[in-house]
Symmetry: C2
Subunit: 246 residues, 2 copies
């Protein structure tokens, strides 16, 4: 071989080629899948495209991942690691639990909006996943709410999470629709208004609500969504506070 005739330079050149292509591991596959999902949405992810992105054939992925569903499950668990929950100590003081719960819920929402495909997957598969990050997440929530003194912490958690999931799902789906339109959120609302108002014709409360909402939403849709989430979150936390002993 030529390598034997002039070993030194060729060796260095060869060595380099492997490390910068990390060799198609399970974690590399999941990481790249998340990148694609974030960028182009859930229906843009195919095994062939993912393989191409990793300089690999489509079917090579199946050496590291049993099926596409399993890949999605891994992606969900990977992303679950981004959701933060304050440590249980934060809830020991009287009103500390409330700030902590708020922080947890807002972190959930932020993650769901950062990865809008998450809601779609949860809608199909639910929370039956048992990945390590999801388990750790549940554990931290349980610790927080027991420390807060809730007699039935899992009930309280389910309530709060249901609200967070419902609101975030709706919001993520909306943002996905907006993104697909190519317009800004405000422009999209504006161009949707005629159809919406026509559909609301004959429904008095709806036309009123749309007229109100349209004005504000076009100005600052992001602030409106934030306020909406905070309002409902406070409602839920008020209701939960009534379940606390003392």
């Amino acid at each position: 071989m030529a390598a034997k005739a002039n070993p030194v330079p060729s060796v260095w050149a060869r060595q380099q080629s492997a490390p910068d292509q990390p060799a198609l591991s399970r974690t590399a596959i999941v990481r790249e899948a998340i990148v694609m999902l974030d960028a182009d949405g859930i229906e843009a992810l195919s095994m062939r495209k993912l393989g191409a992105r990793l300089n690999a054939g489509a079917t090579s992925l199946y050496r590291h991942v049993a099926t596409k569903d399993e890949l999605m499950e891994l992606a969900v668990d990977e992303v679950a690691a981004e959701i933060t929950v304050p440590p249980a100590e934060a809830a020991r003081g009287g009103a500390g639990w409330r700030a902590a719960a708020t922080e947890a819920a807002e972190s959930f929402r932020a993650t769901a909006l950062r990865h809008p495909w998450l809601s779609a997957v949860l809608g199909q598969a639910g929370l039956a996943y048992l990945g390590p990050n999801l388990m750790a997440y549940s554990e931290r929530l349980a610790a927080l709410f027991t420390a807060a003194g809730f007699p039935e912490p899992s009930r309280a958690i389910d309530t709060l999470l249901s609200y967070a999931i419902g609101m975030s799902t709706t919001e993520a789906a909306w943002l996905t629709t907006v993104a697909r339109s190519g317009e800004t959120e405000a422009d999209f609302i504006a161009s949707l208004m005629p159809a919406a108002q026509q559909a609301a014709a004959g429904h008095d409360h709806l036309t009123d609500a749309y007229a109100d909402a349209a004005v504000h939403a076009v100005l600052d849709p992001v602030a409106i969504r934030d306020a909406k989430f905070t309002y409902g979150l406070d409602v839920v936390l008020d209701g939960l506070a009534m379940r606390l002993p003392d």
Copy 2:
């Protein structure tokens, strides 16, 4: 033709053939699609199978429905008609609004569980649909909550609906998973417990919670789910009650 030689019997025979095959209309397509979705889940619905069910070729459907997404949108709106909302008058009295809101939320949940695919579709498309039944549904909710005296009825509605959506989505996805397993819900829980407990190993609160839940859930999972929904619903309604003037 032979028909002319003996017109009467042949006419009657021919007339019958059309009416009992309602000729592939848009409403017939949507109706049959819902039947298939209810029976076999969202991924079992393909245009070819749906066409076959209607004694029609796959591509014939496209004369009445622009695309599969549009078909799903029509199916969602059709199913939305099943969700009941008490009339606004029910909320005029002091505590009447609470019973009415409870009824509305429970009807939502019941519909979502009767058509488990609904959650999956909402997770992908959100509530941006403008179908007549969905509009009527929103209108009735708005009427109810304004009659109840809420200063910001749409905020209250969004909160309640978010909770209902989140809880029902999780529940529907769970029931879908159970159904796919072929076991009863109690059996499925039992056969899932080993894996769950192993995954919870090292997480103290989780193992406790699982141990508790397992015993009760195996006995009567349906009652547990009902109670869970009711608990969270009461939490939300308590929080909303605090926003009512007086």
